[in-house]
């Protein structure tokens, strides 16, 4: 069992991490590098006379091979990490609730993972473009982790709860951290164009969704494959 769980998560994590990293290099990293131009002051959007304007255009991936290899490497680590949590949850649901695990319904698991880990925390803490000062790291990490846990528990109550009451409690648990609210600064300090920040948030979320669906699909695929042997 342990061997099957670990190998399923590693294979699925490598595939999903690689696909996610490729998409990031195409869509997300150029925006991130463009944001850094504002963070470092190499480009200015808000001028002293109050007129906001600046040229659009990413600086290109450039010759920073080491940096980009690290990004690919850490994507593999992150997706394998999430994959381990996912296969454990899948195998647990199968053992305790008789839930059938197939590649197809793995897509639903992936979407649920995306909602819990990316979408729900992003409602309070949008993915940050460099050059966007935010509140203290500690409280943000606490809110981020709590929101992920609450959303995951809420989704599980809705998916596996056997009564309307359980489903209603699930919804409330999902909404609770949003009503508590994420920590924010009292002042806006952003130096990058708001358009660029918005684009970064939607693109990183969109392609994380692709990564998560891929992860769910392959976690389930390999988990089932391993059991059949």
């Amino acid at each position: 069992m342990t061997k099957n769980l670990l190998s399923s998560a590693v294979f699925a994590g490598l595939i999903a991490g690689l696909i996610a990293a490729l998409l990031q290099f195409f869509f997300v990293i150029p925006l991130l590098l463009e944001g850094e131009l504002y963070e470092s002051g190499a480009r200015l959007h808000f001028h002293a006379d109050g007129t906001p304007s600046s040229d659009r255009g990413a600086p290109g991936l450039g010759g920073e091979t080491g940096r980009h290899l690290m990004t690919i490497g850490f994507n593999l680590v992150t997706y394998t990490g999430y994959g381990l949590l996912m296969v454990a949850a899948m195998a647990f649901a199968r053992e305790r609730r008789g839930t059938e695990i197939t590649a197809q319904n793995g897509i639903i698991w992936g979407l649920a993972g995306f909602i819990a880990v990316q979408l729900a925390p992003a409602i309070g803490l949008p993915p940050e473009l460099p050059g966007t000062p935010a509140a203290e790291l500690g409280p943000r990490q606490v809110w981020w982790i709590s929101t992920i846990l609450a959303t995951a528990v809420g989704l599980a109550l809705i998916a596996f709860g056997r009564s309307l009451l359980m489903h209603a409690v699930g919804l409330l648990v999902i909404l609770a951290p949003q009503f508590v609210g994420a920590p924010h600064l009292d002042t806006f300090w952003g130096v990058a164009p708001p358009e660029l920040s918005a684009e970064f948030a939607t693109q990183s979320l969109g392609f994380a969704a692709v990564g998560w669906v891929t992860l769910g699909y392959f976690c389930a695929f390999f988990l089932k494959q391993g059991e059949a042997e």
Binding site: M1, T2, L5, L6, A9, A21, Q24, V28, I29, L32, R67, H68, M70, T71, F74, N75, V77, T78, T80, G81, Y82, G83, L84, L85, V87, A88, A91, F92, E95, Q118, P121, A122, L125, P126, P127, E128, L129, P130, A134, L137, R140, Q141, W144, S204, L205, F207, A208
Partner: protein, 76 residues
Amino acid sequence: MQTVKPSWTPVGCDGKGEKTMTTKTATIAATGSNTLAFAFTLVVGLGLLTVSGMAQATVLHDAAHDQRHAMAFPCH
């Protein structure tokens, strides 16, 4: 003559009792080891995520920086 039915499952005196006992033990053992497998998998997963997303050691933070932004970990 009255037969007294024992309240406990006889073990070792008839085939049936023995069988029940064996099956039960096997089920409990299998469940126990699976729970351990789930827990172990969770801990390894959380360990990897701590390294790639949460740990603030400068070297680690800088190396994982772009990925943390792209995956929306709270960074900086």
